[in-house]
């Protein structure tokens, strides 16, 4: 893919990062750190030259690739990108995030938005649901792929490993799991709270094909996302930075679940407008 294309994507995601921060700011609630670390991964999947086969105007047709946001608290990123690529979430609606009566709940909500592939938020469950979608496609002999994004703290949940065993046993080679490996959780760095290393070897030993990429670099993300194996599900370990794009948020756990103040938002937006992330 041409670097021109990725340059355009980097320009697009300036707006997306801006939207995410504004959404969280207007309700003074949400997860900026973990939303910002996932931007390039989700954009690579959903944008109109991206990896997923989907139709924003026909979001419920059976013939589509699917994306399960297992790391549910990153949902502002998903809402912002769905709006940007033409799903029926309007600009004004974005600023109703977490309001009473809004479709845009604090975590993905399938009852309110039918094209949310799963209602997540309780960590550890989305990979199983994604596997269910993958198995359904195999049963129906449909060639569509299923993508899911998990967090590194989330990988401490036992159910993730149940699904890991199950996906390779069931040869779910239409399933790709992306790990948003931003190294931090709420109570501290992952390595201090509950270490998960060595990650690559763990997933390989569970029978997955593993790629390790820079999660903020499209020329690494795209080939990994496009890859499939003849039998194995794929794990993409995407090294990312929590709060990517805003220097005072980057790598800081305090920004896991804290909304920016008016001044902090202003500073953050200035920084974002000066950066090209993804290339």
């Amino acid at each position: 893919m041409s670097t021109n294309l990725y340059g355009n994507w980097a320009k697009d995601t300036v707006k997306i990062r801006e939207t995410i921060l504004k959404m969280i700011h207007q309700i003074n609630s949400g997860h900026p750190g973990g939303s910002l670390s996932m931007v390039e991964i989700i954009y690579a999947l959903f944008n109109k030259e991206g990896v997923m086969k989907h139709d924003p105007k026909n979001p419920e047709k059976r013939e589509r690739d699917r994306f399960v946001l297992s790391k549910g608290h990153g949902v502002p990123t998903l809402y912002a990108i769905l709006n940007h690529v033409g799903y029926d979430i309007k600009d004004e609606e974005l600023m109703t995030l977490r309001h009473l009566g809004s479709r845009l709940q604090g975590h993905p909500d399938r009852a309110r938005i039918s094209y949310m592939e799963a209602s997540t938020g309780s960590l550890g469950q989305g990979l199983s649901i994604a596997l269910g979608y993958a198995i359904a496609n195999k049963m129906d002999k449909l060639p569509y792929r299923v993508f899911t994004l998990i967090g590194d703290g989330e990988m401490q949940e036992g159910q993730i490993w149940e699904a890991a065993l199950s996906a390779s046993h069931n040869k779910a080679n239409n399933l790709t799991c992306i790990l948003d490996y931003n190294k931090g959780q709420i109570d501290g760095l992952v390595k201090d709270v509950l270490g998960v290393e060595p990650v690559k070897q763990k997933w390989e030993s569970f029978g997955w094909k593993v790629h390790v990429v820079d999660g903020h670099n499209y020329s690494e993300l795209i080939p990994a996302l496009k890859d499939t194996d003849s039998e194995k599900p794929i794990m993409i370990i995407a090294n990312t930075i929590k709060g990517k794009g805003v220097s005072f948020m980057e790598g800081k756990n305090t920004w896991h679940g804290k909304a920016p103040s008016n001044d902090e938002l202003k500073l953050a937006l200035e920084e974002i407008h000066s950066k090209m992330i993804g290339v």
Binding site: I135, E162, S166
Partner: protein, 306 residues
């Protein structure tokens, strides 16, 4: 008539319904020979997924299958599947995934395996989830009717099934909230659930024969939803309502009935929860466990003779 365990009724029914409804799929967590999902598995190999001992993953995978248009039945012991409560609450309940949850081995009636394998709180857990339908068939015909109803219903359903063989009745066709009546009576109504319906019925007949009381007997086959119209008629006609269940009294069908009666009955009525009295189960022969917990005709008779 031959007695049939409702787990067997389920297995037979699913294998049959699989012919009529090609979207039915079935998942089991290494208990297929016990839950009797093996009957479906043998007939429809490509539509059966053996999950291994992973109830949480089974729940999530079923949700994904349901949201792809399948009608998944997930099978395990009631204790184990409802024990993964957050997964049912979120991946099935909150997602409104069209998954049918089969929980076998309910109650102390399973016997020698003991407490860990006994579903004693499953109704309490399942009925607290919005939109969950909670069913407890009492016999083979009813189980088949409930299964077909569940397939046609859009939304999660929990089935509570026995290991032990149950008496067969010829009751009216299943309709959620309408408890079939199997004996007429006055003043007192026995609501028997699942495995306790037979003993409740025998005790009611004995009480009438001895001229002590004349309890009506109903089959309380659905803990959620309750039917306001039926409950109104029940509470208008009967002063005392006894709910008999092989389940803890903390939150089961008895609690559901007591809640309704206490808020909505026109006239104040007494509800007695006759079940496992907030204690753990244990190993023993099923008949000895039933004697210990008062789940026999004689014990029920003695209790209500006073």
């Amino acid at each position: 008539m031959t007695k049939i365990a409702t787990r067997k009724s389920f297995g037979t029914a699913l294998a049959k319904l699989g012919e009529k409804y090609p979207n039915i799929v079935c998942l089991d967590a290494d208990l297929s020979k016990s839950t009797m999902s093996n009957l479906f598995a043998e007939k429809f190999k490509e539509r059966f997924v053996e999950m291994g001992i992973q109830e949480a993953n089974m729940i999530g995978v079923a949700a994904g299958l349901a949201m792809s248009g399948k009608i998944p039945f997930i099978c395990s012991f009631g204790a184990f599947v409802t024990g993964r409560y957050d997964q049912i609450r979120m991946s099935i309940g909150y997602s409104n995934a069209n998954v049918k949850i089969i929980g076998t081995h309910c109650g102390v009636g399973i016997g020698e395996d003991g407490h860990s394998q006994m579903g004693l709180e499953d109704i309490a857990l399942m009925r607290a989830i919005p939109n969950m339908v909670v069913l407890q068939p009492a016999d083979d015909k009813e189980c088949m009717e409930m299964m077909e109803w569940a397939v046609q219903h859009n939304g999660p359903v929990y089935f509570r099934l026995t290991r032990q063989n149950l008496e067969q009745y010829n009751m009216q066709a299943f309709k959620p909230g309408n408890f079939p009546q199997i004996k007429e009576g006055k003043k007192v109504a026995f609501l028997g659930c699942g495995g306790l319906l037979e003993e409740s019925h025998k005790a009611a007949v004995m009480l009438k024969e001895k001229g002590i009381k004349d309890p009506a007997v109903f089959n309380a086959n659905c803990a959620k939803p309750l039917c306001d119209k039926f409950m109104k008629k029940l509470t208008d006609e009967y002063e005392t309502i006894v709910v008999l269940e092989d389940h803890t009294t903390m939150g089961g069908t008895g609690s559901a009935i007591a809640e309704w009666v206490s808020e909505k009955a026109q006239t104040p009525r007494r509800v007695i929860r006759y079940g496992v009295q907030d204690v753990f189960g244990e190993s023993g022969l099923p008949e000895d466990l039933y004697k210990k917990h008062g789940f026999t005709c004689e014990a029920i008779f003695n209790t209500f003779s006073k």
